[in-house]
Symmetry: C2
Subunit: 699 residues, 2 copies
C-alpha cells in the first residue's frame, strides 16, 4: 500500500465520521430520540417530555454537544458516571497526553530519519510506499538508530511519569470514593457462602448461631439467599399473572359496568375481590413464606454493626474447613447478581476452570477469520490460488478498497460477536456482582483482542503459508522485530476503520436508534423499554481503548505515521465518551475504580513489549550497542511497575482499616448508625416484586 491508499482510507473514514457526527447532532435534537440520546437525564429527572416545536434549528448540525462535553468538569463526570467512568476518561486523557509527546518526538525526529535512512531516489510522496516511512528503511549499523533509542527513552520515561501521577491521583480518588460512600450498606455487609448443611436446622438458624457465637458484639442480622432458579420463576410468573388478571379485571369492570352490569350482579363482585390489592398479596405471601423455607440455599448476607467488623469477618479463614463459611464483602444492593449467589460454593472452582478453557478455546478458534483477513492483504497469494479473480483485482480502486478497508471491516464484524460471548462466559463463572462480571468479561475481551488482533495478525502475517504460529521460542525479540514492522500498514488502516468507526457507532447508537424508531413509529408504543437501563459497556470500551494504546506504543518507533491517526482517535474518544457518560449511560453499579490497575498493567505490558521489539530491531540492524542500551530501560520499567504494584494496588483490593474505623467513629458520634441499621433491614431485595415477604431480615 502506498500513501495514496492510506489517504483514501483516511478520506473515507473522515467523511463517514463527519457525516455521523452531524447526523448525531441533528438526531439528538429530535424529541422522539430523547430516550436514545438522553437516557441518563430522563432516568435522573424523570422530566416531562417536551413536545418540541418544529423549528429550522432542529435540522441544522451544530457543534454544541462537543462544547458541552468538553466543558464538563471532573465533578460532573463523577456525579453522572461514578468513579469508573472517570477512571476510563483518565485513561483516554493519559493516552492523548502520551501520544502527543510520542507524536512530537516521532514525527519530527524519527520519521525524517526513517525517510532518509537509505540512500535512494525518493518518488513523488503520494505514490511513495509506506515502507519508506518505517524503521525498515534505516540501513544496517546506522548511527541514526541512537535517535530511535533516544525517542524510546523519552516515550518510556514520560509514560512512566504520567502513569505514576495518574495512579496516585486515582488512588486518592478511590480513597475519597470509599469515604464518600459512607452510607453505602455494602460496607456493613458480607456475603457468606458454603454454610454447612444440617438436617435438623435451617440455614438461617445455623448462620444466626454461628455469628452470635463468634461475632456476638458486632453481628446485627442476616438475610438468607433463596434458590432463584425455580422460586424466582414461580414468583415472577405469579406476579405477572396477578398483574394480568388485575388489568383485565379493571378493564372488564369498566366493561361490565357499562355493558353487562344490568345482566347479572355477580360478575363484577368476583372480579373486585381479585382486584382488591391487600388481600391477594397477603395470600401470595403466605404461600411464599412457607415455601421459601424449604428453598433456602447455603449462602447468606450478614450485616454487622460497624464497617470494620464487616471487613474483619470478610477476611481470612473462618473455619477449619476452607470450603465452609467462605466470606466476601458484599456488593452494593443494585450490584448483586442474585442468580449466582445460590450457586454452591464447591461448584465455583470447576466453573472457573471450565470458562477459562472455553475462553482459551474461543481465542484459538478465532484464528480462522483472522487468517482469512490476512490473506486479503497478500493479494498475490490469492491471485495465485484463485486465478479467476485476477481480472477484478486489476482495477486499482478495488485493490485499494480490498487492501485498505475490507480486511479491517471483516475483522470488526467478527469481533462484534466476542464481547457477548465473553460476557456469557463471565456469567457462567459465577461472580457475585454485576460489576465483577463486567470486570471479568473486560479481562477476557482484553486478552482476546491483544492476542487475536495483534499477535495472530503479526505472526500469521509472516507465516501465512505455514500454520505453525510460534515456531521457535528462542530470540522472541528478533522474531517480533522482523514480524511486527511488516504489519504496520494493516494496523494503520485498523485504527482508521475500527477505531474511528467504533466512535461513530458509539455516538450514533444505531441499534438503540432503530429500536426506538421501530417502537415509536411502527408499533406506536410510547413506553421506552430501555429507558434508563443502559450501563456503560466497560467490557468492550476499556479493551478497545487499551488495544489502541497498545498499537500506538508498539508502532510509535517502527512506523510513526500511525500516531496522527491514533491522536485523532483519542481526542475524538475523549469527546464522544464524555458526551455519552454525561447523557446516555446510567450508573447503577460500579467497581469503584478497579479498572485502573488493569489499564496500568496493560500499558506497562505495551511499553515493555515495545522495548523488547525495539531491542530486537536494533539487533537486526546490527547495532548491538544500541540494542544493549534498551536493556536497562526494560529493567527500569519492570521495577517501576513492581513499585506501583506495591505502593498503590493493595488499595484497589482491600479497604484500609484505618479509614473504616475513622468512618465508623464519625458515624457513631453523629448518631447516624441507627438510621443505617434500619436501612440495612430492607435494602437487599432478592425478589423485587415481593419485597415485603422475602426481605425481612432475621434479627
Amino acid at each position: 500500500m502506498d500513501i495514496s491508499g492510506l489517504l483514501t482510507s483516511a478520506g473515507i473514514n473522515t467523511g463517514l465520521c463527519l457525516v455521523f457526527f452531524s447526523l448525531y447532532s441533528v438526531l439528538s435534537k429530535q424529541p422522539s430520540n430523547e430516550s436514545v440520546y438522553f437516557g441518563q437525564r430522563l432516568a435522573q429527572l424523570r422530566l416531562k417530555r417536551r413536545r418540541g416545536r418544529l423549528s429550522f434549528d432542529r435540522f441544522v448540525p451544530s457543534p454544541s454537544w462537543i462544547v458541552k462535553a468538553w466543558e464538563a468538569s471532573e465533578e460532573e463526570i463523577l456525579a453522572c458516571g461514578g468513579l469508573d467512568a472517570l477512571v476510563f476518561l483518565r485513561m483516554v486523557v493519559f493516552s492523548c497526553r502520551i501520544f502527543s509527546i510520542a507524536a512530537i518526538i516521532c514525527i519530527f525526529l524519527v520519521l525524517p530519519l526513517n525517510y532518509f535512512g537509505k540512500e535512494m531516489r525518493h518518488r513523488y510522496i503520494p505514490s511513495e510506499s509506506l515502507e519508506v516511512f518505517t524503521i525498515g528503511n534505516v540501513k544496517e549499523g546506522s548511527r541514526w538508530l541512537w535517535a530511535h533509542c533516544f525517542a524510546l527513552y523519552i516515550i518510556s520515561c514520560s509514560a512512566c511519569v504520567l502513569l505514576y501521577f495518574e495512579y496516585k491521583n486515582i488512588t486518592r480518588m478511590r480513597l475519597a470514593h470509599i469515604i464518600g460512600s459512607s452510607l453505602s450498606p455494602s460496607q456493613f455487609t458480607i456475603l457468606v457462602r458454603g454454610i454447612p448443611w444440617s438436617p435438623e436446622e435451617s440455614y438461617s438458624e445455623i448462620v444466626r448461631k454461628f455469628y452470635t457465637n463468634y461475632y456476638a458484639t458486632s453481628y446485627l442480622s442476616h438475610q438468607i439467599v433463596y434458590r432463584s432458579g425455580t422460586v424466582q420463576k414461580i414468583m415472577s410468573d405469579a406476579a405477572k399473572m396477578y398483574e394480568m388478571i388485575k388489568c383485565t379485571s379493571t378493564e372488564q369492570n369498566f366493561g361490565s359496568r357499562l355493558i353487562r352490569c344490568g345482566l347479572c350482579g355477580g360478575t363484577t363482585h368476583s372480579f373486585k375481590v381479585l382486584a382488591s390489592e391487600p388481600e391477594s398479596v397477603q395470600r401470595q405471601n403466605d404461600f411464599t413464606e412457607s415455601d421459601l423455607k424449604e428453598k433456602e440455599c447455603g449462602a447468606a448476607l450478614v450485616f454487622f454493626r460497624t464497617r470494620y467488623a464487616a471487613v474483619i469477618a470478610s477476611q481470612g479463614l473462618q473455619s477449619s474447613n476452607p470450603m465452609l463459611w467462605v466470606t466476601d464483602l458484599a456488593p452494593e444492593p443494585h450490584d448483586v447478581y442474585w442468580k449466582n449467589l445460590s450457586i454452591p460454593y464447591r461448584q465455583l472452582w470447576i466453573r472457573r476452570i471450565t470458562t477459562l478453557l472455553a475462553s482459551i478455546g474461543l481465542m484459538i478458534l478465532f484464528v480462522i477469520p483472522v487468517g482469512f483477513v490476512q490473506s486479503l492483504l497478500h493479494l498475490e497469494e490469492i491471485q495465485k490460488k484463485f486465478p479467476f479473480l485476477r481480472g477484478v483485482l486489476k482495477n486499482k480502486v478495488i485493490v485499494r478498497v480490498v487492501t485498505g478497508y475490507l480486511p479491517s471491516v471483516i475483522l470488526m464484524l467478527f469481533l462484534y460477536a466476542v464481547p457477548p460471548a465473553m460476557m456469557l462466559f463471565s456469567t457462567i463463572e459465577g461472580p457475585i456482582s454485576r460489576s465483577g462480571r463486567k470486570k471479568s468479561a473486560c479481562f477476557k475481551v482484553l486478552y482476546f483482542l491483544i492476542w487475536n488482533v495483534f499477535f495472530v495478525n503479526v505472526l500469521s502475517g509472516t507465516a501465512i503459508e505455514r500454520l505453525v504460529v510460534v515456531s521457535s521460542a528462542k530470540d522472541v525479540a528478533a522474531q517480533l522485530a522482523t514480524a511486527v514492522p511488516k504489519q504496520a500498514t494493516f494496523f494503520m488502516t485498523y485504527v482508521l476503520t475500527s477505531g474511528w468507526a467504533s466512535l461513530s457507532s458509539e455516538i450514533m447508537q444505531p441499534y438503540m436508534l432503530l429500536c426506538n424508531f421501530f417502537n415509536k413509529f411502527i408499533l406506536r408504543n410510547n413506553n421506552d423499554p430501555s429507558n434508563g437501563t443502559l450501563s456503560f459497556p466497560y467490557h468492550t470500551e476499556v479493551p478497545r481503548v487499551l488495544l489502541f494504546g497498545f498499537l500506538g506504543f508498539t508502532y510509535s518507533l517502527l512506523a510513526p505515521l500511525i500516531l496522527p491517526f491514533l491522536l485523532v482517535y483519542f481526542f475524538l474518544a475523549n469527546l464522544v465518551y464524555r458526551n455519552q457518560i454525561l447523557n446516555i449511560y446510567v450508573t447503577r453499579y460500579q467497581t469503584g475504580g478497579k479498572f485502573w490497575p488493569t489499564m496500568h498493567y496493560t500499558t506497562i505490558f505495551s511499553l515493555v513489549l515495545t522495548q523488547v521489539i525495539a531491542m530486537g530491531v536494533f539487533g537486526l540492524k546490527k547495532s548491538t550497542v544500541v540494542s544493549a542500551f534498551t536493556v536497562p530501560l526494560i529493567i527500569c520499567t519492570l521495577l517501576f511497575n513492581e513499585y506501583c504494584r506495591r505502593r498503590f494496588h493493595p488499595i484497589f483490593k482491600d479497604n484500609p482499616a484505618q479509614v473504616l474505623i475513622d468512618m465508623d467513629r464519625n458515624d457513631e458520634q453523629c448518631g447516624r448508625m441507627e438510621e443505617i441499621y434500619k436501612q440495612l433491614q430492607s435494602v437487599y431485595c432478592q425478589f423485587a416484586s415481593t419485597s415485603n415477604a422475602v426481605c425481612n431480615t432475621v434479627p
Copy 2:
C-alpha cells in the same frame, strides 16, 4: 551401558553403604562421639556423659539403631522433631508406598513387555544392554502399549488417593499443632513494619498511639526492634570484651595473688572492680538505654490480648498507604530472624527481585558443569575430540567407572555448593523468620535441582553438540518423549550414587565427626561448640527426596529398572532420617507443616510431567488412541490438584478464626491469660546478652 555395568555400580554402592552403616553403628557407641550422634538427647537432658567402659561390644556393628528407628512411633517423632519432621517422614513414607505399587505393576507387567517388545534374539542377560528394558524396545503401533497406559492409570490414581489422605491427615495434624501450641507467644504477637517516621516522636510513641487509637480494646503492649547492624555489633563486642577482661582479670587475680600480691596492693583491687558483675553490667545498660532510643527502627512487635485480635490486626490493609503499617503474624521467639526485622520495608521488594535474578543466574550458569558431566556419558564424542584418551578408554573397567560412576560423583560435588548459596540468597531476601528462610531456600534448591539435574541433563543429552537448550516450543511432549528415555541409564546411576551415598553421608555426619575428632583429640577441648545447635537441613533434604520421587515417577514407565534402586533408597531414607530426627537434630523452630504443600505440588507436577511424557511416547510409537487416552488422566490430575488446593491449602496459610476464638475462650475461662501476658513481656529478646535492658516492653 549394560546390565553388568549397572550391577558394578550397584555393587560399589551397596558395599559402601554397608561399610558406612556398620561404621556408624560402631562410632555411635563411642562416648567421645556422643555430641555428634546424640546431639538432641544431650540438648534435651543435659545428661552427664558416661565415661564408657572399654568393652568388646563397643566395636561390633549391630543393627540396634535400625530397630530403634523403626519402632519409634509418630508421637515420639512429633515430640523430638516437631510437625515439620513428621511431615518430612510422611513424604518419605508416601514415596515408599507409591513406588512399591509402581514397582509391582512395572516390574511384573511393564518390564516383560519392554523386554519382549521387539522380535529379536536376546543375549545372555548380564551383557544385555539396558536399552532393552526400556520402552524404546517396544515396537511401533504395538497393542502392548495399552498395558503401559493401564499402568500409568494405576500409578496416577493410587498416587492421587494416597496424596489425598496424606494431605487430609497432615491438615488435621496442623490444626492439632495450632491448638496444641496454645501457650505460644507468637499467636498473640504481630510484626509491624513500615512505621511512619516523624521528627517529633519516637517510633515507640507512634506505635503506642496508633494501636491505642485503633485497637484500644485488644492492644496489650509493644516492643520496638532496634537497628542490629551497628548496635548488635557494639553490644556483642562489648560483651566479648567484658567476658575477656573478666577472664583475664580472674586469671590475673589468681596470678597477682600468687606472684605480684606482695609488690603492690592496687592492682588486684582495680581488676576486682571490673570483675564484680552487677556494677559493670549496670554501667553497660546505662550506655545501652540512652543509645538505643536513637537506634530504633521502623519495625515493632505488637502484643495483643487475644489470638483472634492478633490475627485480625495482621490481616488486610491497615493504612491508606500500603507501604506503611505493614503487618504480619510474628514468628516464634526462637524463630525470629532479628537481623532482617530492621530492614526498611520499602527495600524488601528490591531485595526479592534481586535474589530472584541471582538464583536464576546461578541456575543458568550451572549448565556448564552439567554439560561436562554429560560429555562423560558420550565417550565416543570425547574420543573423537581427544584422541590421546583412546588408549585409556579401551580398558573396560575404566569405561565402566567413567560411565557408571564418575558423572554422578562430579555432579554431586558441584551440587554441594548449591544449598549454601541458596541459603545466602534467602537470607538477603529478608525473611522475618529462620523457618521462613529455610522454606524459601528449600524452594530455590528444589527448582534448581529439578531444572539442573533433570531438564538440563535430559535436554543437553539430546543436544550435546548444539548449545541451544530448548530449540522448539511446539510439541514439548514429543521432544521430551524422545529425550527422556535416553537418559534412563544416567538417572539409574544417579539414584545409586547420589541417593545412597547421600544417606551414608547423612548418617555418618563426616564433617561433624571430623570437627569433633579435631576438637577432642587435637585441641583437647571438651567444650562442644556445635552441641545442640544443629537443626534439620530441610532445605537440602526435602528437595533431594522430592527429586528422587520426581525421577521415580518419570522413569517408572519408561525404564522400570530404576524402581528397585529407588525403593531401596526410600526404605533406607525412612530409617536413616527417623534415626537422625530422634537422635541428632534439635528442633528450635518450625514452620508447622508448611513444607507439605510444596511436597504435594511437586508430586503433582511429577505426575503430570510423567503423563505428558507418556503421551508423547505413545504418540511417537504411532499409537494415537493410547496417546489420546492419557489426556483425560492429565485433566483429572490437574482437577484433583485444584480441589486439594482449595480444600486444604488455606489452612497452611492462615489460622482459622473459629479455632482461635475457641482457644481464646478456653484460656479466658481457665484464667491462663494473665500468665501468658506476663510471659509476653519478656519472651522476645532481640539482644540475648543484654536481655534486661532491651526486652522491657512498653505497656
